[in-house]
Protein backbone atom coordinates (compact mmCIF):
# COMPACT_ATOMS: atom_id res chain seq x y z
CA UNK A 1 0.00 0.00 0.00
CA UNK A 2 2.74 2.44 1.01
CA UNK A 3 6.21 1.97 -0.34
CA UNK A 4 9.15 4.24 0.46
CA UNK A 5 12.42 3.72 -1.38
CA UNK A 6 15.78 5.30 -0.71
CA UNK A 7 14.25 8.39 0.85
CA UNK A 8 16.67 11.19 1.69
CA UNK A 9 15.22 14.36 3.17
CA UNK A 10 15.97 17.07 5.67
CA UNK A 11 16.08 20.76 6.44
CA UNK A 12 18.56 23.04 4.67
CA UNK A 13 21.52 20.97 3.50
CA UNK A 14 21.68 18.53 6.39
CA UNK A 15 19.80 15.33 5.64
CA UNK A 16 17.76 13.93 8.51
CA UNK A 17 16.75 10.85 6.57
CA UNK A 18 19.41 8.98 4.67
CA UNK A 19 18.19 6.43 2.17
CA UNK A 20 15.23 5.12 4.17
CA UNK A 21 13.15 2.28 2.67
CA UNK A 22 9.92 1.18 4.30
CA UNK A 23 6.98 -0.89 3.15
CA UNK A 24 3.46 -1.06 4.59
CA UNK A 25 1.05 -3.68 3.23
CA UNK A 26 -2.70 -3.35 3.31
CA UNK A 27 -4.14 -4.26 6.69
CA UNK A 28 -0.72 -4.25 8.34
CA UNK A 29 0.21 -2.52 11.57
CA UNK A 30 3.76 -1.25 11.15
CA UNK A 31 5.71 0.44 13.93
CA UNK A 32 8.75 2.65 13.51
CA UNK A 33 10.75 3.01 16.69
CA UNK A 34 13.97 4.73 17.52
CA UNK A 35 15.53 7.42 19.69
CA UNK A 36 14.84 11.14 19.59
CA UNK A 37 16.19 12.83 16.50
CA UNK A 38 16.33 9.64 14.46
CA UNK A 39 14.13 11.23 11.80
CA UNK A 40 10.80 9.58 12.59
CA UNK A 41 8.75 12.78 12.49
CA UNK A 42 10.62 14.01 9.42
CA UNK A 43 9.67 10.77 7.69
CA UNK A 44 6.00 11.45 8.39
CA UNK A 45 6.29 15.06 7.30
CA UNK A 46 7.84 13.93 4.05
CA UNK A 47 5.00 11.49 3.43
CA UNK A 48 2.54 14.34 4.05
CA UNK A 49 4.48 16.73 1.84
CA UNK A 50 5.49 19.29 4.46
CA UNK A 51 9.17 18.38 3.96
CA UNK A 52 10.56 17.98 0.42
CA UNK A 53 12.85 14.99 -0.12
CA UNK A 54 16.07 15.37 -2.08
CA UNK A 55 16.11 11.77 -3.27
CA UNK A 56 13.97 8.65 -3.21
CA UNK A 57 10.39 7.74 -4.04
CA UNK A 58 7.14 7.37 -2.12
CA UNK A 59 4.35 5.32 -3.67
CA UNK A 60 0.88 5.10 -2.17
CA UNK A 61 -1.32 2.52 -3.86
CA UNK A 62 -0.55 3.35 -7.49
CA UNK A 63 0.20 7.02 -6.97
CA UNK A 64 3.58 8.66 -7.08
CA UNK A 65 3.01 10.63 -3.89
CA UNK A 66 5.77 13.15 -4.53
CA UNK A 67 3.97 14.34 -7.66
CA UNK A 68 0.83 15.09 -5.65
CA UNK A 69 0.32 18.38 -3.82
CA UNK A 70 0.47 18.10 -0.01
CA UNK A 71 -3.15 19.20 0.48
CA UNK A 72 -4.33 16.55 -1.99
CA UNK A 73 -2.64 13.65 -0.20
CA UNK A 74 -5.28 13.42 2.51
CA UNK A 75 -7.86 12.98 -0.22
CA UNK A 76 -6.08 9.81 -1.39
CA UNK A 77 -6.79 8.26 2.00
CA UNK A 78 -3.79 9.15 4.14
CA UNK A 79 -4.58 10.48 7.61
CA UNK A 80 -1.73 12.04 9.55
CA UNK A 81 -2.19 12.32 13.31
CA UNK A 82 0.73 14.65 14.00
CA UNK A 83 3.23 14.78 16.80
CA UNK A 84 2.00 16.97 19.65
CA UNK A 85 -1.66 16.53 18.65
CA UNK A 86 -2.01 19.81 16.74
CA UNK A 87 -5.76 20.02 17.15
CA UNK A 88 -7.39 23.31 16.09
CA UNK A 89 -7.63 25.10 19.44
CA UNK A 90 -10.26 27.69 18.52
CA UNK A 91 -12.55 25.15 16.90
CA UNK A 92 -14.89 22.96 18.93
CA UNK A 93 -14.36 19.22 19.25
CA UNK A 94 -17.13 18.63 16.72
CA UNK A 95 -15.66 21.17 14.28
CA UNK A 96 -12.25 19.52 14.61
CA UNK A 97 -13.84 16.21 13.66
CA UNK A 98 -15.58 17.89 10.71
CA UNK A 99 -12.19 19.17 9.54
CA UNK A 100 -10.97 15.58 9.63
CA UNK A 101 -13.84 14.70 7.33
CA UNK A 102 -12.96 17.16 4.56
CA UNK A 103 -12.12 14.29 2.19
CA UNK A 104 -14.73 12.87 -0.18
CA UNK A 105 -14.75 9.57 1.70
CA UNK A 106 -15.09 11.42 4.98
CA UNK A 107 -18.11 13.34 3.68
CA UNK A 108 -19.72 10.16 2.41
CA UNK A 109 -19.23 8.15 5.61
CA UNK A 110 -19.69 11.01 8.10
CA UNK A 111 -22.70 9.61 9.96
CA UNK A 112 -21.24 6.13 10.27
CA UNK A 113 -17.77 7.42 11.21
CA UNK A 114 -18.92 9.85 13.86
CA UNK A 115 -20.97 7.11 15.52
CA UNK A 116 -17.98 4.79 15.66
CA UNK A 117 -15.59 7.52 16.81
CA UNK A 118 -17.93 8.44 19.67
CA UNK A 119 -18.24 4.77 20.55
CA UNK A 120 -14.48 4.27 20.62
CA UNK A 121 -13.66 7.59 22.28
CA UNK A 122 -16.76 8.52 24.30
CA UNK A 123 -15.07 11.51 25.90
CA UNK A 124 -15.28 13.26 22.50
CA UNK A 125 -19.05 12.90 22.45
CA UNK A 126 -19.20 14.31 25.96
CA UNK A 127 -17.03 17.31 25.03
CA UNK A 128 -18.32 17.88 21.52
CA UNK A 129 -19.22 21.52 22.02
CA UNK A 130 -16.06 22.45 23.89
CA UNK A 131 -13.15 24.33 22.28
CA UNK A 132 -10.32 21.90 21.55
CA UNK A 133 -7.80 24.28 23.12
CA UNK A 134 -9.42 23.75 26.52
CA UNK A 135 -9.07 19.95 26.48
CA UNK A 136 -6.42 18.09 28.47
CA UNK A 137 -3.46 16.57 26.67
CA UNK A 138 -4.93 13.08 26.67
CA UNK A 139 -8.29 14.35 25.41
CA UNK A 140 -6.54 16.34 22.68
CA UNK A 141 -4.71 13.18 21.63
CA UNK A 142 -7.99 11.29 21.43
CA UNK A 143 -9.44 14.15 19.39
CA UNK A 144 -6.45 14.07 17.05
CA UNK A 145 -7.00 10.33 16.54
CA UNK A 146 -10.74 10.80 16.07
CA UNK A 147 -10.04 13.59 13.59
CA UNK A 148 -7.80 11.22 11.66
CA UNK A 149 -10.45 8.50 11.63
CA UNK A 150 -13.17 10.92 10.50
CA UNK A 151 -11.71 11.06 7.00
CA UNK A 152 -12.28 7.32 6.36
CA UNK A 153 -8.57 6.85 5.72
CA UNK A 154 -6.98 3.82 4.11
CA UNK A 155 -3.76 4.48 6.01
CA UNK A 156 -3.63 6.01 9.49
CA UNK A 157 -0.26 7.51 10.40
CA UNK A 158 0.21 8.12 14.11
CA UNK A 159 3.16 10.19 15.27
CA UNK A 160 3.94 9.47 18.92
CA UNK A 161 0.42 9.33 20.33
CA UNK A 162 1.87 8.83 23.83
CA UNK A 163 4.04 11.95 23.81
CA UNK A 164 3.76 14.10 26.90
CA UNK A 165 1.02 12.01 28.46
CA UNK A 166 0.88 10.36 31.88
CA UNK A 167 1.69 6.64 31.59
CA UNK A 168 -1.84 5.54 32.49
CA UNK A 169 -3.32 7.84 29.83
CA UNK A 170 -0.78 6.63 27.28
CA UNK A 171 -1.69 3.05 28.14
CA UNK A 172 -5.35 3.84 27.68
CA UNK A 173 -4.73 5.41 24.27
CA UNK A 174 -2.71 2.37 23.19
CA UNK A 175 -5.45 0.06 24.32
CA UNK A 176 -7.99 2.15 22.34
CA UNK A 177 -5.81 2.04 19.23
CA UNK A 178 -5.60 -1.73 19.38
CA UNK A 179 -9.36 -1.94 19.82
CA UNK A 180 -9.95 0.45 16.90
CA UNK A 181 -7.65 -1.60 14.73
CA UNK A 182 -9.30 -4.88 15.75
CA UNK A 183 -12.72 -3.56 14.79
CA UNK A 184 -11.83 -1.61 11.66
CA UNK A 185 -8.93 -3.58 10.20
CA UNK A 186 -7.30 -0.26 9.35
CA UNK A 187 -3.75 -0.10 8.01
CA UNK A 188 -1.65 1.71 10.61
CA UNK A 189 1.81 3.22 10.51
CA UNK A 190 2.93 4.17 14.01
CA UNK A 191 5.95 6.11 15.20
CA UNK A 192 6.70 5.60 18.88
CA UNK A 193 9.31 5.99 21.56
CA UNK A 194 7.53 3.51 23.80
CA UNK A 195 9.30 0.68 22.06
CA UNK A 196 7.98 -2.23 24.10
CA UNK A 197 4.31 -1.36 23.61
CA UNK A 198 4.77 -0.45 19.97
CA UNK A 199 6.54 -3.69 19.06
CA UNK A 200 4.15 -5.77 21.07
CA UNK A 201 1.09 -4.74 19.09
CA UNK A 202 2.65 -4.24 15.63
CA UNK A 203 2.96 -6.89 12.92
CA UNK A 204 6.16 -5.48 11.58
CA UNK A 205 8.72 -3.03 12.90
CA UNK A 206 11.53 -0.80 11.79
CA UNK A 207 14.24 0.66 14.00
CA UNK A 208 15.30 4.06 12.78
CA UNK A 209 18.64 5.35 14.03
CA UNK A 210 20.36 8.54 12.84
CA UNK A 211 18.29 8.68 9.68
CA UNK A 212 18.80 5.06 8.60
CA UNK A 213 16.88 1.86 9.04
CA UNK A 214 19.12 0.07 11.51
CA UNK A 215 16.95 -3.01 11.84
CA UNK A 216 13.68 -4.39 10.58
CA UNK A 217 11.64 -7.48 11.01
CA UNK A 218 8.38 -8.92 12.16
CA UNK A 219 7.10 -8.77 15.66
CA UNK A 220 8.92 -11.87 17.00
CA UNK A 221 12.23 -11.32 15.27
CA UNK A 222 12.53 -7.80 16.63
CA UNK A 223 11.51 -8.63 20.14
CA UNK A 224 13.98 -11.49 20.20
CA UNK A 225 16.81 -9.35 18.84
CA UNK A 226 19.59 -8.82 21.36
CA UNK A 227 20.28 -5.21 20.42
CA UNK A 228 16.65 -4.26 20.84
CA UNK A 229 16.35 -6.11 24.12
CA UNK A 230 19.37 -4.27 25.49
CA UNK A 231 18.91 -0.81 24.05
CA UNK A 232 15.14 -0.41 24.15
CA UNK A 233 13.51 -3.03 26.27
CA UNK A 234 15.98 -2.83 29.16
CA UNK A 235 16.56 -6.54 29.38
Amino acid sequence: MLRIDGLTAGYSAIPVLNGVSIKVDEGQFVAIVGPNGAGKTTLFKTISGIVQPSAGTITFEDHDLLAIRPSQRAHLGIAHVPEGRQVFPSLTVMENLEMGAMTEAGQRDWKHNIERIFEWLPILAERRGQFAGTLSGGQQQMLAIGRGLAGSPKLLMLDEPSMGLAPTIADFIFERLIEIRRQSNLTILLVEQRVAEALESADHGYVLEAGRVALEGNNETLRADDRIRKAYLGM
Partner: protein
Protein backbone atom coordinates in the same frame (compact mmCIF):
# COMPACT_ATOMS: atom_id res chain seq x y z
CA UNK B 1 -29.22 70.65 30.98
CA UNK B 2 -31.57 69.83 28.13
CA UNK B 3 -29.05 71.11 25.65
CA UNK B 4 -26.23 69.03 27.16
CA UNK B 5 -28.37 65.91 27.10
CA UNK B 6 -29.35 66.58 23.53
CA UNK B 7 -25.72 67.06 22.52
CA UNK B 8 -24.72 63.88 24.30
CA UNK B 9 -27.43 61.75 22.68
CA UNK B 10 -26.69 63.28 19.29
CA UNK B 11 -22.97 62.46 19.57
CA UNK B 12 -23.76 58.99 20.90
CA UNK B 13 -26.04 58.15 17.99
CA UNK B 14 -23.57 59.60 15.48
CA UNK B 15 -20.82 57.51 17.09
CA UNK B 16 -22.85 54.32 16.94
CA UNK B 17 -23.75 54.86 13.29
CA UNK B 18 -20.26 55.71 12.09
CA UNK B 19 -18.87 53.06 14.43
CA UNK B 20 -20.87 50.35 12.70
CA UNK B 21 -19.26 51.28 9.37
CA UNK B 22 -15.78 51.55 10.92
CA UNK B 23 -16.42 48.17 12.48
CA UNK B 24 -17.13 46.61 9.10
CA UNK B 25 -14.04 48.29 7.66
CA UNK B 26 -11.89 46.80 10.45
CA UNK B 27 -13.44 43.37 9.99
CA UNK B 28 -12.16 43.27 6.40
CA UNK B 29 -8.63 43.85 7.58
CA UNK B 30 -9.09 41.60 10.61
CA UNK B 31 -10.18 38.71 8.41
CA UNK B 32 -7.05 38.98 6.29
CA UNK B 33 -4.77 39.31 9.30
CA UNK B 34 -6.56 36.64 11.30
CA UNK B 35 -6.42 33.96 8.64
CA UNK B 36 -3.17 34.81 6.88
CA UNK B 37 -1.10 36.68 9.48
CA UNK B 38 -0.23 39.11 6.70
CA UNK B 39 0.07 42.79 7.58
CA UNK B 40 -1.65 44.43 4.63
CA UNK B 41 -0.73 48.10 4.27
CA UNK B 42 -2.72 48.36 1.06
CA UNK B 43 -6.06 47.73 2.78
CA UNK B 44 -6.86 51.44 2.93
CA UNK B 45 -6.18 51.73 -0.78
CA UNK B 46 -8.35 48.71 -1.53
CA UNK B 47 -11.03 50.67 0.30
CA UNK B 48 -10.30 53.70 -1.88
CA UNK B 49 -10.76 51.51 -4.96
CA UNK B 50 -14.05 50.31 -3.46
CA UNK B 51 -15.20 53.93 -3.12
CA UNK B 52 -14.35 54.70 -6.74
CA UNK B 53 -15.88 51.43 -7.92
CA UNK B 54 -19.14 52.35 -6.19
CA UNK B 55 -18.86 55.90 -7.57
CA UNK B 56 -18.47 54.72 -11.17
CA UNK B 57 -21.13 52.03 -10.85
CA UNK B 58 -23.49 54.75 -9.68
CA UNK B 59 -22.64 57.47 -12.18
CA UNK B 60 -21.34 55.69 -15.27
CA UNK B 61 -22.76 52.18 -15.32
CA UNK B 62 -26.44 52.92 -15.18
CA UNK B 63 -27.16 52.22 -11.53
CA UNK B 64 -28.33 55.79 -11.05
CA UNK B 65 -30.66 55.52 -14.06
CA UNK B 66 -32.07 52.17 -12.95
CA UNK B 67 -32.41 52.59 -9.20
CA UNK B 68 -32.66 56.36 -8.88
CA UNK B 69 -30.82 58.85 -6.74
CA UNK B 70 -32.08 57.69 -3.40
CA UNK B 71 -31.24 54.02 -3.32
CA UNK B 72 -28.95 53.81 -6.33
CA UNK B 73 -25.84 54.57 -4.27
CA UNK B 74 -26.46 51.62 -1.97
CA UNK B 75 -26.93 49.26 -4.91
CA UNK B 76 -23.67 50.57 -6.41
CA UNK B 77 -21.89 50.06 -3.07
CA UNK B 78 -23.10 46.47 -2.79
CA UNK B 79 -21.89 45.85 -6.35
CA UNK B 80 -18.46 47.27 -5.52
CA UNK B 81 -17.97 44.58 -2.85
CA UNK B 82 -17.87 41.53 -5.17
CA UNK B 83 -15.85 43.45 -7.78
CA UNK B 84 -13.16 44.31 -5.24
CA UNK B 85 -13.30 40.74 -3.91
CA UNK B 86 -12.37 39.52 -7.39
CA UNK B 87 -9.64 42.16 -7.50
CA UNK B 88 -8.33 40.96 -4.13
CA UNK B 89 -8.44 37.37 -5.33
CA UNK B 90 -6.13 38.19 -8.24
CA UNK B 91 -3.84 40.40 -6.16
CA UNK B 92 -3.35 37.42 -3.87
CA UNK B 93 -2.94 34.98 -6.75
CA UNK B 94 -0.34 37.03 -8.57
CA UNK B 95 1.49 38.86 -5.77
CA UNK B 96 0.68 38.12 -2.14
CA UNK B 97 0.84 34.32 -2.51
CA UNK B 98 4.49 34.64 -3.49
CA UNK B 99 5.43 35.98 -0.07
CA UNK B 100 2.91 34.22 2.19
CA UNK B 101 1.24 30.93 2.97
CA UNK B 102 2.81 27.49 3.01
CA UNK B 103 5.63 28.72 0.80
CA UNK B 104 6.98 30.93 3.56
CA UNK B 105 5.86 29.10 6.69
CA UNK B 106 9.33 27.64 7.16
CA UNK B 107 11.19 30.91 6.54
CA UNK B 108 12.64 33.06 9.26
CA UNK B 109 10.10 35.75 10.16
CA UNK B 110 7.58 33.82 8.05
CA UNK B 111 8.12 36.17 5.14
CA UNK B 112 6.84 39.22 7.05
CA UNK B 113 9.55 41.53 5.68
CA UNK B 114 8.67 40.75 2.09
CA UNK B 115 4.97 41.14 2.93
CA UNK B 116 5.54 44.60 4.41
CA UNK B 117 7.48 45.82 1.41
CA UNK B 118 5.08 44.26 -1.08
CA UNK B 119 1.86 45.62 0.44
CA UNK B 120 3.44 49.03 0.95
CA UNK B 121 4.44 48.95 -2.72
CA UNK B 122 0.93 47.99 -3.78
CA UNK B 123 -0.38 50.88 -1.66
CA UNK B 124 1.90 53.39 -3.38
CA UNK B 125 1.01 52.10 -6.83
CA UNK B 126 -2.71 52.26 -6.11
CA UNK B 127 -2.49 55.77 -4.63
CA UNK B 128 -0.51 57.26 -7.47
CA UNK B 129 -2.25 55.16 -10.09
CA UNK B 130 -5.52 56.44 -8.65
CA UNK B 131 -4.29 60.00 -8.97
CA UNK B 132 -3.47 59.33 -12.62
CA UNK B 133 -6.78 57.65 -13.45
CA UNK B 134 -9.32 59.33 -11.16
CA UNK B 135 -7.64 62.73 -10.77
CA UNK B 136 -7.27 64.71 -7.57
CA UNK B 137 -10.74 66.28 -7.53
CA UNK B 138 -12.78 65.25 -4.50
CA UNK B 139 -15.50 62.77 -5.42
CA UNK B 140 -18.55 61.78 -3.41
CA UNK B 141 -21.52 59.49 -3.65
CA UNK B 142 -24.31 61.78 -2.59
CA UNK B 143 -27.85 60.70 -2.11
CA UNK B 144 -30.69 62.97 -1.04
CA UNK B 145 -30.68 60.86 2.12
CA UNK B 146 -27.26 62.27 3.01
CA UNK B 147 -28.86 65.58 3.84
CA UNK B 148 -32.08 64.53 5.49
CA UNK B 149 -32.78 63.10 8.89
CA UNK B 150 -35.23 61.12 10.94
CA UNK B 151 -36.26 62.76 14.16
CA UNK B 152 -36.39 60.51 17.21
CA UNK B 153 -38.48 62.05 19.87
CA UNK B 154 -39.28 64.36 21.42
CA UNK B 155 -38.38 62.11 24.34
CA UNK B 156 -37.90 63.08 28.00
CA UNK B 157 -37.33 66.81 28.66
CA UNK B 158 -38.47 67.43 25.05
CA UNK B 159 -35.16 66.14 23.76
CA UNK B 160 -35.01 65.01 20.12
CA UNK B 161 -32.25 63.14 18.33
CA UNK B 162 -31.73 63.49 14.60
CA UNK B 163 -30.52 60.48 12.67
CA UNK B 164 -29.01 61.21 9.29
CA UNK B 165 -30.88 58.89 6.93
CA UNK B 166 -27.87 57.94 4.81
CA UNK B 167 -25.83 57.11 7.91
CA UNK B 168 -28.71 55.15 9.33
CA UNK B 169 -28.91 52.99 6.21
CA UNK B 170 -25.10 52.72 6.15
CA UNK B 171 -25.16 51.30 9.66
CA UNK B 172 -27.90 48.82 8.82
CA UNK B 173 -26.04 47.63 5.70
CA UNK B 174 -22.89 47.24 7.81
CA UNK B 175 -24.63 45.21 10.47
CA UNK B 176 -26.31 42.93 7.94
CA UNK B 177 -23.01 42.37 6.10
CA UNK B 178 -21.28 41.64 9.40
CA UNK B 179 -24.03 39.19 10.36
CA UNK B 180 -23.79 37.34 7.04
CA UNK B 181 -20.01 37.14 7.29
CA UNK B 182 -20.18 35.86 10.87
CA UNK B 183 -22.68 33.17 9.86
CA UNK B 184 -20.47 32.17 7.00
CA UNK B 185 -17.33 31.94 9.13
CA UNK B 186 -18.94 30.10 12.02
CA UNK B 187 -21.39 27.81 10.22
CA UNK B 188 -20.26 27.00 6.69
CA UNK B 189 -17.74 24.37 5.71
CA UNK B 190 -15.59 26.92 3.95
CA UNK B 191 -15.72 29.24 6.96
CA UNK B 192 -14.64 26.47 9.29
CA UNK B 193 -11.79 25.50 7.00
CA UNK B 194 -10.65 29.17 7.00
CA UNK B 195 -10.55 29.06 10.80
CA UNK B 196 -8.69 25.75 10.78
CA UNK B 197 -6.14 27.15 8.33
CA UNK B 198 -5.72 30.17 10.63
CA UNK B 199 -5.29 28.00 13.73
CA UNK B 200 -2.69 25.62 12.33
CA UNK B 201 -1.79 25.71 8.63
CA UNK B 202 0.27 22.52 8.78
CA UNK B 203 -2.44 20.47 10.47
CA UNK B 204 -4.98 21.96 8.05
CA UNK B 205 -2.88 20.63 5.18
CA UNK B 206 -2.95 17.19 6.82
CA UNK B 207 -6.75 17.43 6.72
CA UNK B 208 -6.65 18.01 2.98
CA UNK B 209 -7.34 21.76 3.19
CA UNK B 210 -5.49 23.76 0.54
CA UNK B 211 -4.15 26.49 2.82
CA UNK B 212 -3.08 28.80 0.01
CA UNK B 213 -6.56 28.62 -1.45
CA UNK B 214 -8.04 29.34 1.99
CA UNK B 215 -5.79 32.40 2.19
CA UNK B 216 -6.93 33.51 -1.25
CA UNK B 217 -10.57 33.28 -0.19
CA UNK B 218 -9.88 35.20 3.03
CA UNK B 219 -8.01 37.89 1.12
CA UNK B 220 -10.81 38.26 -1.43
CA UNK B 221 -13.48 38.38 1.29
CA UNK B 222 -11.51 40.88 3.37
CA UNK B 223 -10.99 43.15 0.38
CA UNK B 224 -14.66 43.00 -0.62
CA UNK B 225 -15.84 43.72 2.93
CA UNK B 226 -13.60 46.75 3.28
CA UNK B 227 -14.72 47.99 -0.14
CA UNK B 228 -18.35 47.92 0.98
CA UNK B 229 -17.43 49.82 4.15
CA UNK B 230 -15.58 52.36 1.99
CA UNK B 231 -18.58 52.86 -0.25
CA UNK B 232 -20.80 53.41 2.77
CA UNK B 233 -18.43 56.04 4.17
CA UNK B 234 -18.43 57.76 0.78
CA UNK B 235 -22.14 58.61 1.13
CA UNK B 236 -21.14 61.12 3.79
CA UNK B 237 -17.50 61.89 3.28
CA UNK B 238 -15.90 63.05 0.02
CA UNK B 239 -12.87 61.05 -1.07
CA UNK B 240 -9.74 61.21 -3.19
CA UNK B 241 -7.05 58.73 -4.29
CA UNK B 242 -5.05 59.19 -1.06
CA UNK B 243 -7.99 58.68 1.27
CA UNK B 244 -6.77 55.18 2.17
CA UNK B 245 -3.90 56.57 4.22
CA UNK B 246 -6.35 58.33 6.54
CA UNK B 247 -8.34 55.18 7.18
CA UNK B 248 -5.72 52.46 7.27
CA UNK B 249 -4.47 53.73 10.65
CA UNK B 250 -7.98 53.63 12.04
CA UNK B 251 -8.36 50.10 10.67
CA UNK B 252 -5.24 48.88 12.41
CA UNK B 253 -6.20 50.62 15.64
CA UNK B 254 -9.58 48.87 15.49
CA UNK B 255 -8.11 45.45 14.80
CA UNK B 256 -5.56 45.78 17.61
CA UNK B 257 -8.20 47.10 20.04
CA UNK B 258 -10.47 44.16 19.31
CA UNK B 259 -7.68 41.63 19.68
CA UNK B 260 -5.64 40.45 16.74
CA UNK B 261 -7.30 37.57 14.98
CA UNK B 262 -10.82 38.05 16.33
CA UNK B 263 -13.45 39.15 13.80
CA UNK B 264 -16.08 40.18 16.31
CA UNK B 265 -13.28 41.96 18.19
CA UNK B 266 -12.32 43.92 15.07
CA UNK B 267 -15.95 45.01 14.74
CA UNK B 268 -16.14 46.26 18.33
CA UNK B 269 -12.73 47.87 17.91
CA UNK B 270 -14.04 49.85 14.95
CA UNK B 271 -17.20 50.67 16.86
CA UNK B 272 -15.16 51.98 19.80
CA UNK B 273 -13.19 54.23 17.49
CA UNK B 274 -16.36 55.61 15.94
CA UNK B 275 -17.82 56.32 19.37
CA UNK B 276 -14.67 57.98 20.70
CA UNK B 277 -14.31 60.07 17.56
CA UNK B 278 -17.86 61.43 17.77
CA UNK B 279 -18.14 61.73 21.54
CA UNK B 280 -14.81 63.52 21.89
CA UNK B 281 -16.33 66.54 20.11
CA UNK B 282 -18.45 67.10 23.21
CA UNK B 283 -15.44 68.15 25.26
CA UNK B 284 -12.65 68.70 22.74
CA UNK B 285 -12.25 70.83 19.64
CA UNK B 286 -13.03 68.93 16.42
CA UNK B 287 -9.41 69.07 15.31
CA UNK B 288 -8.50 66.81 18.21
CA UNK B 289 -10.92 64.01 17.17
CA UNK B 290 -8.15 61.78 15.88
CA UNK B 291 -5.85 62.59 18.77
CA UNK B 292 -8.64 61.51 21.12
CA UNK B 293 -8.92 58.18 19.29
CA UNK B 294 -5.30 57.36 19.94
CA UNK B 295 -5.29 58.53 23.54
CA UNK B 296 -8.16 56.15 24.23
CA UNK B 297 -6.41 53.51 22.14
CA UNK B 298 -3.28 53.77 24.28
CA UNK B 299 -5.30 53.68 27.48
CA UNK B 300 -7.14 50.53 26.48
CA UNK B 301 -3.98 48.82 25.28
CA UNK B 302 -2.27 49.82 28.53
CA UNK B 303 -4.87 48.01 30.62
CA UNK B 304 -5.72 45.23 28.21
CA UNK B 305 -2.79 44.59 25.88
CA UNK B 306 -4.45 41.61 24.20
CA UNK B 307 -7.43 43.73 23.12
CA UNK B 308 -11.11 43.16 23.92
CA UNK B 309 -11.38 39.67 22.48
CA UNK B 310 -7.75 38.64 22.22
CA UNK B 311 -6.28 35.73 24.10
CA UNK B 312 -3.15 36.24 26.17
CA UNK B 313 -1.86 32.77 25.37
CA UNK B 314 -0.35 32.55 21.94
CA UNK B 315 -1.66 29.54 20.07
CA UNK B 316 0.70 26.62 19.89
Amino acid sequence: MTQALEGFLQALSAGLLIGAVYGLMCVGLGLIFGVMRVINFAQGDFMMLGMYAAFYFFTAFGVQATFGNTFGPFVAILLAGPVLAVFGYFVHLTLISRVSGMRTSSLEGEGHYAQLILTLGIALILQNGGLLVFGSVLASIRTPLSSSAWELGPMVYDVSVFINKARGIDAVVSLVTMLLLTLMITRSRIGKSLRAAADNPTAATYMGIDVDRAHRIAFALGTGITAIAGGLLATNYPFHPFVGVEYVIVMYAGVVLGGMGSLIGAFWGGMTIGLVQQMSTLILPTQLQNAAIFVVFLLIIFFRPQGFFGRMVERT
